[in-house]
């Protein structure tokens, strides 16, 4: 068999979407970011909105998200992505605007910007990657770190008495009238990836309806920060993270109206 046979369109069974470019990603092997980037590319291609989409990248591991998806991007100061997205969407109301934020970015330093963008019901999509740790800076404790979970700034494990409880931002944000859709997904299995894809697509579709903010949390692994193998990190996530952050829809105002 020659290479030309393999790449023969007739033999094609799987193709990368055209929005994701060929630049090698800087993410660690086993990291969830790459899968979520691909899903975003899939959805932007499927909805044919590459020319109408503006992304806002965070500070954190996904700071370079703008290098991998061929759409217009702005890179925000740490936590401020929802403020940027607010202005972009208000000034360009027919565009699709999304933020891509980690748990340190969204739940700690950017909690105010996130809460108020959601409370104003900005018609944006928030992709929230929650791996319970600061990955980029080397594995420090985040607001989302589980009780007892070790990090470089909680070497003996997170303690409630000192550090408070893990913060569940999507649950909190679901209580706001400005928010129309909140869901919690993961990308650790083929089935989970498919569900997450549907959730991201729904969020983008909802954002065009001007009904408020859509939030897709992706409970994610950080195997290098968690000091585990990629496979071990997936298992640890299923066994530990999902009980604190259970998967599924938390709020879907538009779906509820249909029923």
């Amino acid at each position: 068999m020659k290479v030309t046979d393999i790449v023969n369109p007739a033999n094609l069974v799987y193709k990368k979407n055209s929005v994701l470019n060929d630049l090698p990603m800087h993410y660690c092997p086993g990291c969830s970011h790459g899968v979520v980037h691909k899903l975003l590319g899939d959805i932007i291609e499927e909805l044919d909105i590459q020319e109408q989409t503006i992304g806002v990248a965070p500070v954190g591991c996904a700071v370079f998200a703008y290098k991998y998806l061929d759409i217009d991007w702005q890179q925000a100061a740490h936590g401020r992505a929802p403020a940027l997205a607010t202005a972009i969407k208000r000034l360009l109301p027919d565009r699709y605007v999304f933020t891509y934020q980690g748990d340190g970015d969204l739940a700690a330093i950017g909690s105010a910007e996130t809460l108020h963008a959601c409370n104003r019901g900005e018609n944006i999509v928030i992709i929230y990657i929650n791996n319970g740790i600061y990955g980029m800076t080397g594995g420090q404790m985040a607001p989302t770190t589980l009780l007892g979970m070790k990090s470089t700034t909680s070497p003996k494990g997170r303690m409630y008495e000192r550090d408070g409880n893990p913060l569940d931002m999507p649950k909190l944000l679901a209580g706001l009238d400005g928010v129309c859709y909140v869901t919690r997904q993961a990308v650790h299995t083929v089935g989970a990836v498919k569900k997450c894809r549907r959730a991201i697509k729904k969020a983008f579709e909802y954002s065009a309806l001007n009904r408020g903010t859509s939030i897709v949390e992706v409970v994610s692994t950080c195997n290098s920060g968690w000091k585990l193998t990629p496979d071990g990190a997936n298992k640890w996530m299923v066994e530990n993270m999902f009980s604190q952050y259970p998967l599924g829809d938390i709020k879907d105002t538009i779906q509820a109206e249909k029923k």
């Binding site: 702005q74 890179q75 401020r80 202005a87 565009r95």
Partner: protein
Amino acid sequence: MLMKGNEAIAHAAIRCGCDGYFGYPITPQSEVMETLMELEPWNTTGMVVLQAESEVASINMVYGAAGCGKKAMTSSSSPGVSLMQEGISYMAGAELPGVIVNVMRGGPGLGTIQPSQADYFQAVKGGGHGDYKMPTLAPASVQEMADLTVLAFDLAFKYRTPTMLLADGIIGQMMEKVVLPPYQSRLTEDEIRVKCPWATLGKPHGKKPNHITSLELLSEDMENLNKRLQTRYRILEKEEVRFEEIACEDADYVFVAFGISARVCQKAVEIARNEGIKAGLLRPITLYPFPVEKIKELSNRVKGFISVELSAGQMVEDVRLAVNGKVPVEFYGRMGGVVPSPNEAFNALKDKLIQ
């Protein structure tokens, strides 16, 4: 028309085709957003006006809007502008145009709501992190609040830089006659794509995407960005210096003052002239770029300078750098919201330079 300085800013912003205002209330500048909300420009020019949850959010909304090539602005007063420093540094690094109005009040800390000029260093030396400069305009009248708002946008876009209108509580609050600038249309998206090819409006088919960012991990790349900025600052320093001279032609002694201090010193010049002392006033309109060459030239023929400021002495350092020891440079200032009278300024001139 008769109006407050803060109101003039709001009118001028709408008239010069501003696309978005994002702000948070703080005395003594809340009339800027209040006036905009009264005028409802979204019904006329389509300008967006939004009250943000903080100054941090405001400046980042300006960043987001500016990244789309839109004319965006915010306004605040000293404590609020301190909160914006991160965003201003990011805008400088990402080469984004935008206008920040600081109607200064006394500090440090929560300070007072009375007028001050103690944020001079913060504005002209780069209040945020990193090597950047920001064009800084100092209005001394309600008319200039309007005119310099328009100029601030022009400079911001010409040099792709955040630009500050550095006013004080008196200029913001006092009422004077003003002739408002003519209406300019807001730019269309097609016009923005031509004027700001870097703007993130959505990637056109077949074109490379635009990225607004201030991040470069390779130090050589980051140095190149810095060099580009510094080259731009050198052009600014050559092309954009603005000042006003009052009675400097034959002056022996020159007051250097901006904003409300310049109005006080203008009267002090009259008092001095009546007493037979040949005094003049140099009023920098651009604090950055500073009128260095003008001061150098004056220092060849005057006997001394006195910088009068509502601070403990900030601009005086730049005057001394420009004079470079040729003649004495003295300072007189009041702090914490106190404004000196013309007689105080005149007496300071006599006590410090003449006797």
